[in-house]
């Protein structure tokens, strides 16, 4: 028999094949298990009250804070979400995130210079969130804002 393989060769190949299946049996769950938390989670959105629109001066972003409960892994805790509310005309309001679009540092409004300033790489944003100087690739992210019953409401992920 020209195409027959030896008993020894057959057994060693069978052992390797079964061993491969077993190793895959560990490796596949290991990868799924380790990468599991990297999956995108679909978070709910909710309207949260911020305060009175009277506090917001025309042309000057005003800082509001709201607390949300967020679950990460096995920990559920309260987190503070900061929203700068801006209005150009006193009627239409925009919520601006205080997270720099460059690398995620927190920006703050500097009153006497009329800019949002990011301390990490000296970036600045204008009062409506547009990039004024520095490395950020896009304007500050925005939140939807509406006014209802004399209250500002912000649409946030919870």
């Amino acid at each position: 028999m020209a195409d027959s393989i030896s008993r020894r060769k057959f057994l060693s190949r069978a052992t390797l094949a079964i061993g491969g299946v077993i190793v895959a049996g560990w490796a596949v769950p290991a990868v799924a298990y380790i990468l599991g938390p990297a999956r995108r989670s679909d978070r709910q959105r909710e309207w949260r009250p911020l305060g009175s629109p009277d506090k917001v001066e025309v042309g000057t972003p005003t800082l509001f804070k709201t607390r949300i409960e967020r679950t990460t892994g096995w920990v559920t805790q309260e987190e503070e979400v900061s929203v700068y509310v801006f209005t150009a005309d006193g009627r239409n309001f925009t919520g601006l995130s205080n997270i720099c679009t460059h690398l995620g540092c927190r920006v703050r409004w500097v009153d006497n210079e009329d800019v949002f300033f990011c301390p990490c790489h000296n970036a600045t944003f204008a009062n409506d969130g547009r990039v004024a100087s520095g490395p950020p690739p896009r304007p500050l992210d925005t939140f939807e804002i509406m006014t209802e019953g004399g209250q500002l409401l912000v649409n946030v992920e919870v």
Partner: protein, 233 residues
């Protein structure tokens, strides 16, 4: 090559694969593999696979145990929650934990059966006493793994089983009270107990186990395994 019977190991006559593979030329891998896997063994039966089966489950415990530590947190606040998270939120987390859980039970069953085979065949006798002694140490290590690991989920069963289990030490004459406090790390079962059981379970015991398994395996390869005793033995 003769069919059916494993021929004598002769590196020169192995012609199935080129004898100058890249790795072999550098580190002599063929003779290493040959020494470990192509040993001459006496006529054996399936009972002789119990040691290999144990070794396989040991490998499983190391792999799945390391994976569990990726998320498990050994604190009284987090232990139970992280185990629940592994079980119900992570993809195939239930499988990883299940393999470790059932592997632990399989370990105890297999090491005991393996030991019974050795006793039954008298395989612990000259010249294999050192192999036997390391095996006994590994048996005790297996029990310590089981005892320390049982506490880690930090649920009611874990808590009370360890409360009762450590309390047994108290009946030892004279030093019982001290042994109890040494095991618990204090008077009562506490955050300290959980933390040190974790440390013992994932660092100290595995380190000793790796060492002893290596010695055990080396001796098996070095001395060879014993044949079942004959009538005249």
């Amino acid at each position: 090559m003769t069919d059916g019977v494993m021929g004598p190991i002769d590196q020169q006559s192995e012609t199935e694969e080129p004898s100058t593979s890249w790795l072999d030329e550098r580190i002599g891998s063929r003779s290493i593999i040959g020494t470990i896997f192509l040993r001459k063994i006496p006529k054996v039966n399936w009972l002789f696979t119990l040691g290999s089966a144990t070794l396989f489950v040991v490998a499983n415990q190391f792999v799945t145990g390391i994976l569990l530590t990726v998320y498990y947190v050994p604190s009284v606040q987090d232990a139970y929650d992280t185990v629940t998270y592994i079980d119900s939120s992570l993809p195939l987390g239930w499988l990883v934990r299940g393999l470790h859980h059932w592997g632990a039970t399989a370990m105890v069953v297999l090491v005991v059966l393996h030991m019974l085979r050795i006793i039954y065949h008298g395989a612990y006798k000259y010249p294999r006493e050192v192999t036997w002694l390391t095996g006994v140490a590994l048996l005790l290590l297996t029990f310590m793994f089981g005892f320390t690991g049982y506490l880690l989920p930090w649920d009611q069963k874990a808590y009370w089983a360890t409360t009762v289990g450590t309390r047994i030490l108290d009946v030892v004459p004279f030093v019982g009270d001290w042994l109890l406090r040494a095991a618990r790390g204090g008077e009562e079962l506490s955050a300290v107990t959980l933390s040190r059981f974790f440390g013992i379970h994932v660092w100290i015991l595995p380190a000793i186990t790796l060492l002893l398994v290596a010695v055990h395996m080396f001796l098996v390869v070095r001395i060879g395994i014993s044949a079942p005793p004959k009538k005249e033995d």
